[in-house]
């Protein structure tokens, strides 16, 4: 038990399987499902300073290596920061899961999925993590497509895309083996890079391979898809950084930053423009994820010194933005009894659910990075860097931003519209004011004092030594 791999990978999977057996006791399952990741996150944070802990003169030392099918898997102290973040994310979603009708599998599967995403970051050789990503997609199916409804197009496309991506990543590693000694290294580098970029594009749903993303947010519960997409986006971004850290040929490729800029800009503009034409908030949620992917990719590309500063600044505000919007959409879904949150069903929402409506508008303003909100400081840095870039990037990102602002105005227009024949009485409990005020306060505090979100993750990626220089 004194092994990091056992504690942060194998134990959570066993605990998750254990939670399956008590899924008929939802409150206990939610309680344990919150407690386990919290303990694992706190332990990971404590041990991230060093694998020896001194408690009242007694030393608790962990080993960091476990041989598995002939391969050594290692979790060092440097990597525990990332693992703590993933388990904290799992805790943040599980702790509120009892409020929503997310299905009996939620607590157990989220814990297993978190452990699998953690393993993606540490498996050696790291290319084999591609198969784990496929396993995660398969394990997510009961969450994304609960029983009682037939399998829809979104989940089918999602599974297809994730499966097609896996071979591309695995082949990229083989393709560039011995690249240093090869006489035609340039061709191999190009092929390897193309495979890596194509694989990640399929995984993350980069434009124009994003069609499954809004479909999936439309078909699934916002709390569930919020968790799955957030942990996927963050983990894939960190995994991509691992590729850059490991592969000098990819990192030193001149075109890589340009490609990343184009991918980011295309995601932002497509998400912004397409979100304006949506008639369901559930689909807008999908486009917000696409836009988020764009900003994360841009944050990796627009680095003047190293790769990591802006990326780490984005992490916590973005996680919080997804969490708060997922919470708001879940509240609305259960309050008005609408699965897809059609705009027609939101007419006059502010009269019936004033607090939820305010939270919805604040969450949308926060996630698109408006001033005063938590994503604004990092967005501002990105936009100021963008000012010195060529015209197409500036135009695309501006269009994307304008599209998102128009979408928020459209939602505002629907929400404040006077209802026609419906009951206008307030239907919210007064106690709702507490979470609403707290969430908006955190959003605003994060906007005014950016270090509130950036300080905890400052040393998160110290294991990526090649990217820090």
């Amino acid at each position: 038990m004194n092994n990091t791999v056992i504690i942060w990978l194998l134990l959570p999977i066993l605990l998750g399987l254990g939670l399956v057996t008590i899924q008929r006791l939802p409150k206990l399952s939610a309680l344990l499902g919150s407690l386990f990741p919290l303990v694992l996150a706190v332990l990971a944070l404590i041990y991230s300073k060093g694998l020896t802990l001194n408690v009242l003169g007694r030393y608790f030392t962990l080993t960091d290596n476990l041989v598995f099918f002939g391969r050594a898997t290692q979790i060092t102290a440097d990597q525990l920061g990332i693992i703590a973040l993933l388990y904290f994310l799992c805790f943040a979603w599980n702790v509120m899961s009892g409020l929503f009708n997310v299905g009996r599998w939620f607590n157990s599967l989220t814990l297993i999925i978190t452990a699998l995403w953690a393993s993606v970051q540490v498996i050696t050789p790291f290319l084999y993590s591609a198969v784990v990503v496929e396993l995660i997609a398969l394990v997510s199916v009961p969450l994304l497509s609960p029983r009682g409804t037939p399998a829809k197009s979104g989940i089918i496309r999602f599974l297809s895309m994730q499966t097609i991506a896996m071979p591309l990543i695995l082949l990229s590693g083989w393709m560039v083996t011995g690249i240093e000694t090869s006489p035609s290294a340039e061709a191999l580098v190009l092929r390897g890079s193309l495979l890596v970029i194509a694989g990640f594009s399929l995984w993350a749903g980069i434009f124009p391979l994003h069609s499954w993303l809004p479909m999936l947010t439309e078909e699934s519960h916002p709390w569930t898809i919020g968790f799955l997409q957030t942990i996927m986006q963050i983990s894939l971004a960190i995994f991509f950084l691992k590729f850059l850290n490991q592969y000098a040929w990819l990192r030193n490729l001149e075109e890589i930053k340009l490609v990343l800029k184009w991918i980011g800009a295309l995601c932002i503009v497509s998400a912004g423009v397409l979100s304006v034409f949506q008639k369901k908030l559930s689909r807008v949620f999908g486009y917000l994820f696409l836009s988020g992917t764009g900003y994360i990719v841009l944050s990796m590309a627009f680095q003047q010194q190293g790769w990591l500063n802006l990326f780490t600044q984005y992490l916590l505000p973005r996680i919080f933005a997804y969490w708060s919007l997922g919470y708001t959409l879940s509240l609305l879904r259960e309050a008005i009894g609408s699965e897809q949150l059609n705009f027609s069903e939101l007419k006059g929402l502010i009269w019936r659910y004033p607090l939820s409506s305010i939270l919805l508008l604040a969450s949308l303003l926060n996630i698109i990075g408006m001033p005063l909100f938590s994503l604004f400081p990092s967005n501002r840095i990105l936009l100021s860097i963008l000012a010195s870039e060529s015209m197409p990037f500036r135009l695309f990102v501006s269009l994307g931003l304008i599209g998102m602002v128009l979408m928020v105005l459209k939602v505002l227009g629907v929400v404040i519209q006077a209802p026609e024949d419906v009951d206008q009485d307030k239907k919210e409990r007064t106690l709702m004011i507490i979470p609403v005020v707290l969430i908006i306060l955190v959003m605003v505090l994060g906007g005014i004092f950016p270090q509130f979100f950036t300080a905890p993750v400052q040393d998160l990626l110290i294991s990526f030594q090649n990217l820090l220089n």
């Binding site: 598995f68 099918f69 002939g70 391969r71 084999y128 198969v131 784990v132 496929e134 396993l135 398969l138 394990v139 199916v141 009961p142 497509s145 029983r147 009682g148 409804t149 037939p150 399998a151 197009s153 089918i156 599974l159 297809s160 499966t163 097609i164 896996m166 071979p167 695995l170 082949l171 083989w174 092929r191």
Partner: protein, 199 residues
């Protein structure tokens, strides 16, 4: 004669994959899936020891068994009707599949020389053929059962290709887990659809 005999599993496997692409009869599809996986064995035996060559076909049998038992549970197993005439969609899929394989055969020598010079052309033809037919299956259907068959075909082609490039016990274990989970997901979809049809 020996050459034809050696190439037989390749063409039988591709024929089985084509049958799964074209026909929509669950019992027939399961038999074709078993044949497809069984035909991988002699090909794998040429490059890996017997114990390792058994892994993929054996996993395939397990996967088919999971799907068979699920279909049996929901009343999906019926007698095969070989006289059922082909629909226009089936003819289209069949012709498109044959066209894909023919195109692959034409460009295989150049592709082999440029990318996979160490893999025999038979091995490469079968693995890429399965990958292409699997992709086509994924692009032409919506029913979950055929999605799973498409994914299994695609993965079996890739696994065959990768086994000629490098071998790792960890990767093999992971891929077995993926195949089995895929079958369980397929079973989950079949049961879900049967439940929602009955309500």
């Amino acid at each position: 004669m020996t050459e034809i005999f050696q190439s037989l599993p390749i063409y039988v496997a591709l024929l089985a994959a084509l049958l799964n692409l074209v026909r929509r009869q669950w019992t027939l599809n399961l038999i074709a899936l078993v044949v497809q996986f069984a035909c991988l064995f002699p090909i794998l035996l040429k490059i890996v020891p017997l114990q390792l060559a058994l892994i993929q076909p054996f996993t395939g049998l397990m996967v088919t068994l999971i799907l068979y038992l699920t279909l049996l549970g929901v009343g999906g197993i019926k007698a095969i009707d070989l006289r059922q005439s082909l629909t226009s969609g089936e003819i289209f899929r069949g012709l498109a599949g044959i066209f894909l394989l023919a195109t692959l055969q034409i460009f295989l020598p150049q592709f082999q020389q440029a990318v996979f010079p160490f893999i025999s052309s038979d091995h490469l033809f079968l693995s890429l053929g399965l990958i292409l037919i699997g992709l086509m299956q994924l692009g032409t259907i919506r029913e979950p059962f055929y999605l799973v068959i498409g994914l299994l075909t695609f993965l079996s082609g890739f696994e065959l290709l990768y086994s000629a490039l490098e071998f790792s016990y960890l990767l093999e274990a992971q891929l077995v887990a993926v195949n089995l989970l895929l079958a369980i997901v397929g079973a989950f979809f079949i049961v879900k659809n049967a439940e929602s049809e009955s309500t």
